[in-house]
Symmetry: C3
């Protein structure tokens, strides 16, 4: 129980403004806000382990809108809202279309009369996902302010074109747990590296989320990718500013080996170049099936040129003491298991497998914490009641 009370005391010292707020991007939030979400997540996880109840709702719905497939995040959201006392309802309507404007505004209100939370995953189209989340948020805010809705549903970003905050905060909680404290992360080197995958079109939100979160905590963040596999430029600018602020650093290289050298943490993960994702969005809007097929072929061929971007045992030997922590959002493309050549060697993955499970295990509680902090004005007080 001391572990919980230590965190409660830390939480009480923070100055955060999460009450009645949506959670869409880590970089819109102060470091205190981020720490608050993570502390609440840790406390909820401990309460769960102790089989204590942390329900804050007597009834109400949580709605998930998945415009891209998901198993891990879907079940994390389902778990989080169940623990908080909400019923889950999934909205499929917009799954296969890019809907905007009037329709979104109306539907968002129609489904929200007893809704406390809306979780959205919309990560495939640069310029679309975050915009869509804002539209939904604005629509229910209007509904609430005009008295149509008795409560304002909290929006939670379950992965957008820009950020994947429930993932990156889970990754960071794993680092805190592994290295012992937030202080211990200062000056630690993390290599966020592109890695080869035989698939195509993976979203950019994980690397963008990692470089913009770890730079807030004084880490030395190295982003590595082959020429052309650019992230969205505004996310790079943001990461640079954060690094300066936190007295960490942010550098970019075009070699996995350079990134791995002396790294404390490695995060080898495939993504599609921003330009490809933008082209793909255009082709999808035009319904150009042939164009999409051609683009996929082109990209898979491009990817193949970088098949050596794999997190092998040799690559791991370059890291600090040869035993940097391996992180991944899962599922990883594991060479010899899920594909012939992938992001990571089988033996490397196997060694860190349970670490990646633990990393994923924070996610339900991070989601629950975002909702908790938005709904409960004095989170620490409420959490004390559960202890």
């Amino acid at each position: 129980m001391n572990e919980i009370y230590n965190r409660l005391r830390e939480l009480e010292k923070l100055s955060c403004n999460l009450y009645n707020k949506d959670f869409l991007l880590t970089w819109e939030n102060s470091v205190d806000n981020l720490k608050a979400v993570m502390l609440i997540a840790e406390i909820l996880q401990m309460l769960h382990t102790q089989k204590k109840v942390w329900r804050i709702f007597d009834y109400g719905l949580a709605i998930s809108i998945f415009r891209d497939n998901s198993t891990r995040t879907r079940f994390s959201f389902a778990s989080a809202v169940n623990g908080l006392g909400l019923g889950l309802a999934e909205l499929d309507e917009f799954k296969s279309q890019i809907a905007h404007g009037e329709t979104v505004r109306e539907t968002a209100n129609m489904i929200s009369f007893l809704t406390e939370v809306i979780g959205i995953r919309d990560d495939m189209y640069p310029g679309e996902g975050h915009t869509y989340m804002k539209e939904v948020a604005d629509a229910v805010a209007e509904g609430y302010e005009s008295g149509i809705l008795a409560q304002r549903p909290t929006l939670v970003n379950l992965q957008s074109d820009l950020d994947h905050p429930t993932q990156s905060l889970s990754d960071l909680l794993k680092l805190k747990d592994y290295f012992g404290s937030w202080e211990a992360l200062k000056g630690k080197k993390i290599a966020m590296s592109w890695a080869y995958s035989p698939s195509y079109g993976k979203p950019l939100s994980v690397p963008q989320g990692i470089i913009n979160l770890m730079t807030r905590f004084g880490m030395d963040v190295v982003l590595a990718y082959p020429e052309g596999y650019d992230l969205l430029p505004e996310t790079l600018d943001c990461a640079k500013a954060f690094a300066t602020e936190s007295e960490g650093s942010f550098t970019q290289v075009h070699s996995m080996a350079d990134a791995f050298r002396d790294a404390d943490v490695v995060y080898p993960k495939s993504w599609a170049p921003m330009a490809v994702m933008q082209r793909r969005t255009e082709l999808l809007k035009q319904g150009d099936q042939q164009g999409l097929k051609d683009l996929e072929q082109y990209c898979l061929a491009e990817n193949k040129k970088h098949i050596d971007w794999e997190c092998t045992e040799d690559m791991m030997k370059l890291t600090k003491g040869g035993n940097a922590l391996y992180e991944h959002c899962l599922p990883a493309d594991i060479s010899g298991i899920s594909c012939t050549h992938g992001e990571v060697a089988k033996s490397v993955f196997e060694r860190y497998r349970l670490h990646t499970y633990q990393e994923a295990g924070f996610k339900p509680f991070v989601i629950a914490a975002m909702i908790f902090a938005s709904k409960i004005k004095d989170s620490a007080k409420k959490l004390r009641d559960f202890c």
Copy 2:
């Protein structure tokens, strides 16, 4: 709180027999029954706004069977049963087929061992939907009476070929709220008018439900539609009788302008002619794909002849003071937004948009009230406990 207690006192004066009953058609119910459902709905909504609990079940399932697509009604049902304390389970089995007889009888019991409520939407086939609901109701009644089921699941009509009671009662609650009382509705003119839509095959249950509900409350109900867009004859006869009884009126015209003139309320909404819906059902049963395509083309061409049946600003100027209340069950076909030409002009819809949201906002509570009244013998007493 006075608002709640006023309604509780009104509820206590009513003589209603909803206990242990299904809710399939408003016209099977006394005016007292209808008022009871609406009063309970208002009270539940107020309890929700005050963040008070109105749970009546410790556990149990509510099953929804949607044989036609739905977002608004689906989420209204999900919300209602969540608030009442039930878990939601959706039955997809019969989605794409017209199943009858033995299969229905057996399946209805197989899914009902812990089921308190079954909500059904089956609105596309004249002569089918209501019949199907009765079959399910009879099946679980047999199961209950023979001791197979420990409780009798309550059937709730979420839209049939005949009626859409959860919608029409929500529409009526909006009128009561807008004009101040049920008394105030007496002598008010409502224009239930066909309107042009570029789609085809919309069900008849909304206009049938409206003319048979508003005539119970002393309103002057005018039904307007182009020649040939007939409703089911028995629903017209019923509306005439109700109008006589309530000292309101029921008239039919074949001009939108005539209907709108001096109207206090307008409800412009597209539907398919009964004869078309019947023909469509036959073709579906025969699996005649070409016949269905031909019918659709024919109907869309017919519809186009009446493209001037649109709720425009000019049309609205004909109404009482030029500012009749606009009602719609949503989604509306809005000209210039969801289609080039539709049921309503963009500027008209936008002016009444939040009114239509509020109208829709009654629906979860109307559904909950139907269940509440069927399960709780002394509804008013139970509701007092929640205050």
Copy 3:
């Protein structure tokens, strides 16, 4: 209430080790374990009838994985976990594929951070279903033991290639209710007989489950099937041993009439020959669509040779007093209703229809009892608290 207390006293006398265990096969369990599950099921059903609460969880998920279609079992599982206090989440990921190994291991953990129960149906492929369930069980056991999961999700077999324990225990509970006691079953003859069906590929788990359960309780079990419609050999060996142990008997015949003669209970039900199911699995793995079509044609033709294996009125006259109890897991192929020629004559089925509903009505409580016994160390004590 005496009925409940009698069962509680009986339960307290049993020596069972169900705590923290999965429920995959009846034949892995002692007779005391089986009796305990059935007694708990009966008690839970009585509590439900008395509208008493039997919730044991404050929150948590129950996950169902249906790799074959299901309505009855799906709703039984949904009902059981709802009554116990869990939220339901369905995992579709593996529906259409035979997934193994790493993927299963990882996904099982990823969905289980707040999961108390995983129910799996995987009955179509000999050698696959049970293996898959063990893999999932091993994966979450590893997760629990290594501290990744705060609780060990209990696996419940909702039908495998080997056994269908939630069905067979419901069938047995019906027999106990019908004949009055477990003692009364000793020496009663049950005919588990193949029956003709115009469909193809029905799983073997029901007959395998029946012969291996009823032989535990001293019944005279006769398995009847046309030459070639063999069950898995290991399940036959097991049934023989059980019959010896319980002083019942187990015999095989190739005539429905021989099996029915003087039977107290008949269970006429179609299944596919083991060899066909194995061949089908190979063809599915190879993706050989033509091979699958050919196999289906071959099997339907083979089935037709045995169209006289129907539970007719004449066949029923052969049974003890002409009125053996008819059992079926439902849905039955009823001649003249669901097909021209099927497993059972319409008049026979109709006479026993409500009996089959009651038989099915035990299933939600059998599932709940398996979970209850796995989660609660002293089940009887906990159940007393609910009375």
